[in-house]
């Protein structure tokens, strides 16, 4: 689905593609820094202690989430500057792309990159022979991973919109809400392999974020109804 989003909405406009790739790049850098921290922490600690390792992992995840949000903020700042530049250069004095579109594209960029990193090795292994969950792990590993990745990509998209909107209008609680949601989703994934615990709340959160972002982008229940009934 994320790829479909890409093709239908982003691939037309070259500017959006650039923003997308830049968004992916920012996510990548944040991942890099967070894994650096984790790596240092692991090397500095005792490799035998299981609990400590687990604790460090959790710490790493949380830190990574915070870092991702920080980079989202940095990216927002960069895009603000870029918009001013674009407005100055365009002929009719208004930017060819709005900040909301940028928010959407940035969110998709983040999401795609995170999804790709989460899934792609899995997919590559899935091409090979083998059975899932042969050591007593859940047999639904691939399926749940796929769903989880999808929900994460969508969430990143919505968070992008919400985050940028919050920054635009200086509503700090929106930004805080995004961060808390991200932390929650990551935290929920700790419940794996108890899939009920992680997937369902994630989807609920995603639906909430979707509705919120939709409303923020100027949609309403009326628009939705008209769209669904294919009215013009």
């Amino acid at each position: 689905p994320a790829f479909g989003l890409f093709i239908f909405t982003i691939a037309r406009d070259p500017l959006r593609i650039i923003i997308l790739i830049a968004g992916a790049f920012f996510w990548l850098v944040s991942l890099l820094l967070s894994s650096l921290i984790w790596f240092i922490a692991v090397k500095a600690s005792d490799p035998q202690d299981e609990r400590l390792q687990k604790g460090l992992l959790i710490f790493g995840v949380m830190f990574s989430v915070l870092l991702q949000e920080a980079f989202r903020f940095l990216y927002y700042k960069l895009l603000r500057k870029a918009i001013e530049g674009l407005v100055a250069l365009s002929e009719d004095g208004c930017s060819p792309i709005s900040i909301q579109q940028m928010a959407y594209v940035a969110g998709v960029g983040f999401g795609l990159m995170s999804g790709a990193f989460s899934m792609i090795n899995l997919l590559a292994d899935a091409l090979g022979p083998g059975t899932v969950g042969i050591h007593g792990d859940s047999q639904l590993y691939f399926l749940t991973s796929a769903f989880m990745t999808m929900v994460l990509i969508f969430l990143h998209t919505f968070w992008g919109i919400l985050f940028f909107h919050g920054c635009e209008h200086r509503r700090w609680w929106e930004i805080a809400a995004v961060v808390i949601m991200h932390l929650t989703v990551s935290g929920l994934s700790f419940c794996n392999p108890l899939y009920m615990g992680s997937l369902v709340p994630s989807y609920l959160l995603m639906a909430a974020a979707a509705a919120w972002a939709y409303l923020l982008s100027g949609g309403s229940a009326q628009n939705l109804r008209r769209f669904l009934l294919c009215k013009c």
Binding site: I18, I21, A24, L31, S35, F39, L57, M113, F117, N192
Partner: protein, 459 residues
């Protein structure tokens, strides 16, 4: 690197014009252990990258009746502002026009590396990297790779200087012959090897006559497209293919550590060769600009084309279309060219019949600004990503990270191009990003992601 293949046993043709400037390296030399003949022509020539060295050309409304030299000067002063706006406005489009071929080339290389095992087996080394890396100690290995790099870079420098000298002294026939031989070799020999390996991997049987016909057609059309004229997309496709083939050859025959050190050294060399006043590539570009000559074909990838439809004189039309990729600068500097300027340059300098380009300019039907990227850039980008795909244990994550890094580097370079408006090296920024991301992703991110994935945690 530009290398001229002057003697048949020359080993490499390092193509000069690395990234924006240089063309690819010459083909591997007789160190193939499988007994391939040294192919001279193929490599170096084909990979010259050149960037249109010409200054920004006027826009479409200025076409008509201007000779290239004076026209440029006049138009430039008038259109400075307009051009700037247009440039930046078209900026995003151009970036995408370059993203697509670079992405395609990388995809081809990565797909081949992942599926065909031939390119990851070590079957010997190029003669340009004489020191082996199979040494027991780390220090020795490092030393050997540094020595390899020095040898390679010096070969490249020698070839580049040689090319510049030839160009300065107007030995055009020689250069053309060199290029033609080079691309001939690439198109036929390497394609044959590639096809053979792919067929072997997928266990498809093919008889020799069919193979012969296929390769002959492919090669002949390729030669025509690249050196003479042909539909733009076909030409672009061919340039991408030969870049990918060249990159595959490099990936196979360069030992690991040497490859990384070479990538780093080449971007530094590119930077210096383009920007230093005495750099060979810069001299090449300037000479070409002074003479208002197009750059040799088959060394630059051009993203747009001037259509000279309905020309009054058929021969100028033919020439114009075929030479649209000939940019003034041989070195692959990136520059945005205005089509009319290029057209006037081309028809002026390359048409044997000295017809004035006036009529042709007036009859230009379509103009598109294009950005030109040297083929060497393509090759080294693909080498980086291909090496990442071949040797990284984190597989796809590392490859993806390098891919994004290179694209971002390309973006930044194009941005700088729009700001500085002169030929720029395209290698340094992208290669630096790519290298940083490769090493950090491989060593830092991979264990993190693996642990996360094993616990099925999501960040």
């Amino acid at each position: 690197m530009m290398a001229f293949m002057n003697n048949s046993d020359s080993e490499e043709e390092p193509c000069n014009e690395r990234t924006s400037l240089m063309s690819a390296e010459s083909p591997p030399v007789p160190s193939y252990q499988d007994g391939l003949p040294a192919s001279e022509a193929g490599q170096a020539q084909a990979h010259r990258k050149r960037r249109a060295g010409s200054s920004r050309g006027p826009t479409t409304n200025i076409a008509g009746g201007e000779t290239s030299g004076s026209g440029v000067a006049v138009r430039e002063s008038i259109l400075e502002n307009e051009e700037e706006e247009l440039t930046l406005k078209y900026g995003a489009k151009h970036v995408i026009m370059l993203f697509v071929p670079v992405t395609l080339c990388m995809i081809v290389v990565v797909a081949t590396i992942k599926s065909v095992r031939f390119y990851t087996e070590k079957n010997g080394q190029l003669i340009y990297t004489p020191f082996s890396e199979d040494t027991p100690s780390v220090g020795q290995r490092l030393l050997n790779s540094v020595l390899n790099t020095i040898v390679m870079i010096s070969v490249i420098i020698v070839m580049t200087v040689f090319l510049v000298l030839l160009y300065k002294y107007r030995c055009y026939k020689f250069i053309h012959g060199w290029l033609i031989l080079s691309s001939l070799m690439l198109l036929f020999l390497f394609t044959y090897i590639y096809l053979g390996e792919v067929l072997k991997t997928y266990n498809v049987a093919m008889d020799y006559p069919t193979l012969f016909i296929v390769i002959w057609n492919f090669g002949a059309v390729g030669m025509i497209c690249i050196h003479w004229k042909g539909p733009l997309q076909l030409q672009q496709a061919y340039l991408i293919m030969i870049s990918a083939l060249m990159a595959l050859v490099f990936i196979k025959y360069l030992p690991e550590w040497s490859a990384w050190v070479i990538l780093g050294a080449i971007s530094i060399y590119d930077l210096m060769a383009v920007l230093c006043p005495k750099g060979p590539l810069r001299m090449l570009v300037e000479t070409a600009q002074e003479r208002n000559e197009p750059i040799f074909p088959a060394l630059i990838y051009s993203s747009a084309m001037m259509w000279t439809v309905g020309m009054a004189k058929p021969d100028t039309a033919a020439r114009g279309a075929s030479q649209q990729t000939w940019d003034a600068a041989e070195d692959g500097r990136k520059q945005l060219r205005s089509p009319s300027h290029a057209e006037s340059q081309m028809s002026e300098t390359t048409s044997p019949v000295p017809t004035r380009p006036v009529t042709s300019l007036e009859e230009l039907e379509e103009e598109e600004r294009g950005v030109k990227l040297g083929l060497g850039d393509f090759i080294f980008y693909s080498v980086l990503v291909g090496k990442a795909a071949a040797t990284a244990s984190g597989d796809w994550n590392t490859t993806l990270a390098c891919f994004v890094a290179i694209l971002i580097g390309l973006c930044l370079t194009l941005l700088l191009l729009a700001v500085f408006k002169k030929a720029l090296p395209a290698l340094p920024i992208s290669t630096t990003f790519g290298l940083i991301f490769y090493f950090s992703t491989d060593n830092l991110v991979r264990p993190f992601m693996d642990t996360l994935a094993s616990h099925q945690l999501y960040i």
